[in-house]
């Protein structure tokens, strides 16, 4: 089992993702600098971590999406490698067009850091299969731009094709359809605003992030 976490200038959850994956799955995790033009062989998972890549300047995730390493990430995603974008990583996936939609400023126009309860909407993805009969998950959010937006047609497709992975039980930020996380049509790319990388041990208040990591690494 092998995973990689991409590090952009301004990423600040890179270590959390690596530690979370290591502790919940035992997998080896490589840290990949944003200027790399190749990825390690045989990756089972690539993570785009949270943070403020390029200081959120221009638009959250916009500049990171143009990093050299992202060409490789897109290629790997198209080859079927599992990719998770968490928080700023979700924003980058949208900017890189690996996922539809975009993340707007939170409806209250403030950064929100709080614990949220999620409904697991589609438990048949490789990311959520490990939740099994568990229909809810608890994680924390921490973002200023977590308000998911897409046009009606896209939203209808996401809902209709089972691409909504997680939905907030109480919408904290105005996200369309209360969406907290989505997968691409092929089901190998997940973007989510809540942090599984802050929910992998009981001391952190939840182990539902560990469930997600174990699920995608096939050790659920």
């Amino acid at each position: 089992m092998k995973a990689a976490v991409v590090v952009f200038p301004g990423s600040n959850c890179d270590r959390d993702c690596a530690v979370g994956i290591e502790r919940s799955t035992g997998a080896a995790v490589d840290m990949i600098w944003h200027q790399e033009t190749t990825l390690p062989e045989g990756l089972d998972l690539i993570v785009l971590p949270g943070g403020f890549s390029y200081g959120d300047y221009l638009r959250c995730g916009a500049m990171a999406a143009q990093s050299p390493v992202m060409r490789e990430v897109v290629k790997a995603a198209n080859d079927g490698v599992a990719v998770i974008g968490i928080c700023n990583g979700f924003q980058i996936l949208c900017e890189a067009h690996l996922l539809p939609g975009t993340l707007l400023r939170n409806s209250a126009l403030k950064y929100i850091c709080k614990s949220v309860d999620l409904d697991v909407i589609n438990a048949n993805t490789r990311f959520t299969a490990g939740f099994g009969g568990q229909s809810t998950a608890r994680m924390t959010v921490g973002n200023g731009e977590g308000n998911f937006f897409a046009d009606e047609q896209t939203l209808a497709r996401l809902e209709g094709e089972g691409q909504v992975a997680f939905r907030y039980r109480q919408n904290p930020n105005g996200s369309a359809h209360g969406i907290a996380g989505i997968v691409n049509a092929r089901g190998n790319v997940l973007g989510m605003m809540p942090h599984p990388d802050r929910a992998f041990e009981p001391e952190l208040g939840s182990t539902d992030g560990a469930t997600l990591f174990r699920s995608v690494m096939g050790c659920a």
Partner: protein
């Protein structure tokens, strides 16, 4: 202020905040008139902010050493040994608190943001990775027209900076009082972790070494900020906005990573961040402390704007900049690391053996000063101080009983100081780094973060009760330290050391100086008795507007160590059926209490006396119960007394509490009295007898105070408040206040 100013130096000196006798001293030391650049250098180095000239004499009264102290005051931050970490590494905790009061009042977002940035730099400059942030905020009265805008801006600034850098903001305190209407306080604290044998210092070790500048470019922002921070405000203070710096947290994040990488490479001989007084204080301190000289070529300084004068470059307080002295032949390491992180960098000079600071600009020597007078000969004042009048102790009479107990409790729990601050701390990332065990959302008396990769954890708190210090600086000073010690103890941590942030008015007034001296002496006494040394600190004086001083606010930041975070306590996990035990003696002290202020509008009376021996005895007993795994629900008693502590526990645990009414004191004194050295514990009924027995053996006063259960806060025959009503009042105040239109 133009570099070409034709004004005579003596007049300029006055404008720069130097007193005439201080200017005379400069003439004496130099044997000539200083030029503009030299005068600028002297004025910032001799400002109150950099020289501590009014407080130094009294700061010397603090105990600053201890078996665990690696580095006390005088460096960028204090360093305390915390023993073994993962992989056999020896670890140290590095921390400091600093004020950014004046800038935050003028420009709240940037003022607060750069306060957070500055304090983080102080910590990573020592070689530590920042792992926790705290803030202590004092705003004016809620109904003052500026307050809401200041709260909005300060909170957004703190969050905007800390969230982006990726360091969790885990604890803090926020108070409101009309005494801060014209001069808010923004005190930020940063805690970091370092290898104990890899601490970095600022003293230049030798002559002939390269001086390397890295980080953001130098611009014209913040010029003379240290001088502004050493003067009073008046109605024209808004004109000082150009002296406030602008922060770039993204640059700070890159700076942290680059600095820690540079240190790990082994290239660094000495390092200092450019904080207050920027390039001036960093270069003067590095050379001065090392007993060497320094020669800088200002043309090499990375500049954001064209045509900057030497004066502007030396006085700029542009943010996110570092100055390092590298070991011989290691400049290539620096270049590689700075390029990786995309930082501007340049070798701007070298250390010398002259004992002088020499600055060159456009082919000319623009400053040539001996270093010794700048730091060592800085003025030291023994300012006259008037001891304040001793306040009267309030009698235990029925005149202070509330007309309606339920209304009084609701009022207390929803008053600006006690109401939930969820509105603000939900704007702070409290979980990044994935090691937060307790934060502002947790029912706990201190924030707790794990020492990454180990079973150890750090507990952190910030405390001050200004109304006690106002009433009696000495007793109030003792209480500030005792409360920080108690909050750390209440989560099960061994209190290690404190950083202090002394906020007062104009020290040239004897009555203000009396507050300063009294508070410091009280704090020092508590530090001695509790073995709780001061390892770093900051003094902020001249917090006055139009001649009215702020309430004396000597804030402390305390740090404690949990040897095994599996054995810790909080107050959010109380269970129905548990028995409440009150540790410590209750005498019903209502002087200077929150209850008196909120319910009667009175701020008089003597604050509760602090019996430091009892504080220590009771605290050691409670901590012993926690670390032996016998108790895990603990809350200290402070603002609002027993009823407020019980209400906190009930709300955090969502379990009701029924308090016994018969305590031997008048009911109002028992419920609202703020006697010190007390804790409320919740334990299983079967554990009560043994704990009571052990307390007696330890000489600790303990009594059953009630029991947990139901969904109501009850004092038999006195009050019965549904938790939901209490919660609505407690949670509702701040969003209502902030939502009432800006």
């Amino acid at each position: 202020m133009s570099a070409l100013s034709p004004k005579p130096p003596a007049e300029l000196a006055r404008e720069f905040g130097l007193k005439s006798d201080e200017y005379a001293l400069i003439l004496d030391r130099l044997g000539r008139e200083p030029n503009l650049v030299e005068l600028g250098v002297f004025s910032v180095m001799w400002s109150e902010h950099c020289s501590y000239k009014s407080s130094r004499k009294h700061l010397a009264k603090f105990p600053t050493t201890g078996p665990r102290v690696i580095c006390g005051p005088g460096e960028n931050a204090g360093v305390v040994d915390i023993g073994d970490g993962p992989d056999g590494r020896k670890l140290a905790v590095v921390f400091k608190m600093e004020s950014h009061n004046h800038p935050s009042y003028i420009e709240p977002y940037q003022g607060a943001a750069t306060g957070v940035g500055g304090i983080m730099r102080d910590v990573f400059t020592m070689g530590a990775r920042p792992v926790a942030l705290l803030n202590a905020l004092r705003f004016g009265a809620p109904d003052h027209p500026k307050t809401r805008r200041l709260v909005e801006g300060v909170v957004a600034g703190i969050g905007g900076y800390g969230n982006c850098v990726g360091v969790p903001t885990v604890a803090g305190e926020t108070n409101f009082h009309s005494g801060y209407n014209g001069n808010i306080l923004v005190n930020a604290m940063c805690v970091g972790l370092a290898d104990a044998d890899k601490i970095f210092y600022s003293a230049a070790p030798a002559a002939g070494l390269p001086v390397v500048y890295f980080g953001s470019k130098t611009g014209r922002d913040g010029i003379h900020g240290a001088t502004m921070a050493s003067a009073e405000f008046d109605e024209n203070s808004d004109e000082k906005r150009p002296t406030v710096q602008v922060g770039d947290p993204f640059a700070e994040k890159l700076l942290i990573e680059a600095t820690l990488e540079l240190m790990a490479s082994g290239a660094v001989a000495a390092i200092q961040d450019m904080g207050a007084a920027g390039l001036t204080s960093s270069s003067v301190e590095m050379a001065g402390k090392g007993g060497v000289g320094i020669d800088l070529d200002l043309d090499a300084v990375p500049q954001r704007e064209e045509g900057m004068s030497a004066y502007e470059m030396m006085l700029s307080e542009s943010q996110e900049r570092m100055l390092a002295i590298l070991k011989p032949g290691r400049e290539a390491d620096g270049r590689r690391i700075f390029a990786k992180w995309g930082l501007d960098a340049a070798t701007i000079g070298f250390t010398t053996d002259t004992g002088r600071i020499v600055l060159r600009h456009q082919g000319q020597v623009v400053c040539d000063l001996p270093l010794a007078p700048l730091s060592d000969d800085a003025p030291l004042y023994d300012r006259p101080h008037l001891p304040p009048k001793k306040p009267h102790r309030l009698a235990l009479d029925e005149a202070l009983a509330p007309a309606d107990y339920e209304a009084a409790v609701v009022k207390l729990m929803s008053c600006p100081d006690m109401a939930s601050k969820r509105w603000l701390w939900e704007q702070y990332d409290r979980h990044v780094m994935a090691d937060t065990l307790a934060d502002s959302a947790t029912g706990a008396d201190a924030g707790i973060v794990r020492v990454h990769g180990s079973r150890k954890a750090l507990a952190v708190t910030s405390d001050c009760t200004p109304r006690y210090v106002q009433a009696d600086p000495y007793e109030g000073g003792k209480q500030v330290v005792a409360e920080a010690w108690r909050n750390l103890t209440a989560v099960g941590a061994e209190p290690l050391a404190i950083t202090d942030n002394l906020n007062f008015g104009n020290p040239e007034r004897p009555e203000i100086m009396g507050q300063i001296v009294g508070a410091i002496e009280g704090m020092a006494e508590a530090c001695r008795v509790l073995d709780f040394p001061v390892v770093s600190g900051n003094v902020s004086l001249y917090n006055e507007t139009n001649g009215v001083a702020i309430p004396p606010t000597p804030t402390v930041g305390g740090v404690g160590l949990l040897a095994d975070y599996g054995r810790r306590a909080g107050f959010g996990a109380m269970k129905a059926g548990q028995v409440l035990l009150l540790v410590g003696e209750s005498r019903g002290e209502l002087g200077a209490s929150l209850y008196l202020r909120e319910v009667f509008g009175r701020e008089d009376g003597a604050p509760p006396p602090v019996d430091l021996a009892a504080e220590r005895r009771n605290g050691d007993f409670v901590r012993g119960l926690i670390v032996s795994g016998r108790v895990d629900v603990v809350h200290d008693l402070s603002d609002g007394g027993l009823i407020a502590a019980a209400a906190d526990m009930a709300l955090a645990s969502n379990v009701g509490v029924s308090l016994d009414e018969d305590t031997g004191l008048p009911v109002h004194a028992a419920l609202f009295g703020e006697d010190q050295a007390r804790y409320l514990l919740a334990v299983a009924p079967s554990a009560v007898a043994q704990i009571a027995h052990d307390a007696a053996a330890a000489g600790v006063v303990i009594a059953q105070a009630g029991k947990a259960g139901g969904s109501t806060l009850i004092v038999q025959g006195v009050l019965s408040l549904p938790l939901e009503r209490l919660r609505q009042a407690h949670e509702g105040w701040m969003p209502t206040f902030m939502g009432a239109g800006v």
